[in-house]
Subunit: 329 residues, 2 copies
């Protein structure tokens, strides 16, 4: 019987492996319009931490005792759905498990693009890349010539933001932790990189962006967001994608420079990838071109084996990943 990771208990603060339980599941027989998928790649993403709380948010919370969910790429092994045949590769949201029965409404058949691996549809051509693309270009309205600051720039979304911004003619400052990740961000084309553990961010950003910033792409919140307030130029725009600093702590965030919102007429906008689903074609066309041309490259941190999925997920909060964190089955 296939196995699936279940939420055993809700974490209080930072999750631990005790919050997860791997159990066998019985899959129902296929109904019309359903396929059975054997997963090959699982995505773990910081936003999943929010679903582990019992709080209504933009996606419903995971339920204790029930299987977890998340992006996955798999192969159709049985089909009672028109247009899907065994062997087809599909992207869907029934991750955290070996096999799943999925209705066609929850399936996207992967297009075959030369030189692009199937796991890219969980990365630069999936939720991760789409989040970077729409956050930068729509929520923050970034344009050629802008000075862009992006936090967690060595992460999955951040590394895509750096490369999209460079491809679109912007100046980019990224933050990351430690010399290795900073080198990686520089290798993506960033004009300046801040090691955010090396000193106070307000000071580091002043040095890295002596003219200030026009755009801030926030994956972190906290001190990063405050430094962005401190150095925003007039009419700056902030896309708020994530605040990983606050996902586990539950502590309030303190801002010393938030009043600059007024003087600098800062616009700040929260956004979620799924809001842009109707524009998926536009994204795949533009991003696919940037990926195919090599302007946007994928760097994955791959963990092997379903057993290690919780560890991969927990590693997101301790900086274990460079680029996209994936589990290979």
């Amino acid at each position: 019987m296939p196995r699936a990771w279940h939420l055993k208990s809700r974490p209080n603060g930072m999750p631990t492996s005790d919050n997860f339980e791997l159990k066998e599941v019985t899959l129902a027989d296929l109904a019309d319009g359903q396929v059975r998928v054997r997963n090959r790649w699982l995505s773990v993403d910081p936003y999943m931490r929010g679903r582990m709380n019992d709080v209504k948010s933009y996606v419903p919370p995971f339920q204790v005792g029930e299987p977890l969910e998340g992006g996955a790429v798999g192969e159709v092994v049985e089909s009672r759905a028109d247009g899907f045949a065994p062997g087809d590769l599909v992207m869907h949201m029934a991750g955290w498990r070996e096999e799943a029965v999925v209705p066609t409404a929850g399936l996207n058949k992967l297009p075959s693009i030369p030189g692009i691996g199937e796991q890219a549809f969980l990365g630069n051509l999936g939720l991760t890349g789409g989040t970077a693309y729409w956050g930068l270009l729509d929520a923050a309205q970034a344009k050629a010539g802008d000075i862009v600051f992006v936090s967690a720039a060595a992460g999955a979304v951040g590394s895509a933001v750096v490369q999209i911004a460079k491809a679109k003619g912007m100046t980019v400052i990224g933050s990351a932790r430690g010399p290795e990740k900073c080198d990686f961000v520089k290798s993506l084309g960033a004009d300046a990189v801040i090691d955010y553990k090396a000193g106070p961010l307000v000071k580091s950003l002043a040095e890295a962006a002596p003219k200030g910033i026009d755009v801030y792409f926030d994956n972190v919140g906290g001190d990063h967001l405050d430094a962005a307030f401190a150095h925003a130029r007039k009419d700056a725009r902030f896309a708020i994608c994530g605040m990983i600093d606050g996902y586990n702590s539950g502590e309030p965030m303190a801002f010393r420079y938030i009043m600059r919102v007024i003087a600098m007429r800062i616009m700040l906008k929260g956004f979620i990838f799924t809001d842009y689903m109707p524009r998926m074609g536009e994204f795949i066309a533009d991003m696919g071109q940037m990926v195919a041309s090599g302007q946007v490259k994928e760097r994955d941190t791959i963990v092997d084996g379903l057993e290690n999925t919780p560890d991969a997920f927990l590693g997101l909060f301790t900086g274990k990943n460079t680029g996209k964190m994936l589990v290979r089955l």
Copy 2:
């Protein structure tokens, strides 16, 4: 010789009367294109506190030893400028003093509108009303049917926001301090009023706005802004006009609910009245109609005598004003 208030020293935290000095000034003889104005009404506004710091902001800082500035309405007593004659009433920025020499570029001749006192051009038809109008309708994109929360609703800007929102078909919740001011806010037409000293704002706002809020007009920052984060509905819009909570304290502001920016796709925008100067005609036409029809009423707190200008200003931070604070000379 006419007298003018000077900045004697920069305040550290809450200003005191020791930071101000009343001194005689010598006015230069009029050059071509200048008029001499005798002030009749002076405006004191919270934003002036920012100009007392030695920090570059959207308006340059006041200089120690130099006269203060601010909105004023006065009468032309001498003119070497085409189109201005003794007896004309004008609005200008050389307040905090008895007399000033002003070039025509800094003068607005007051239109004569039946039933509207000259001081309205410092209030509902001036900076105060314009700030309320553009913040609500442009920065926050508020529209009929929206549920609007406005802080400091008994203040000059807040009381205009309440009335404009009601005139435009919105539901309005205002916050104010103490039963007297709350009654005043209710008398302006607010659907619900929160006495923000009576209990935690997050709880009070939940009761006053059980369906949540679509728009927040921020004059205060701090706990008010955090409560607005906590109760924002999807696609809520926040106009950030002022953060009087932080003007004197210099302390960072802590937010427990700021992460809801993402889940609720909140848009937050700082704005300043002067950005809308090119649209002054549009404002006067619409707001003038609301004022003339009685939909938007003016309530002033009037302090008499130039000597008392610093006290009037300091009173803004201790809640001495209901509606617009003005000094009558």
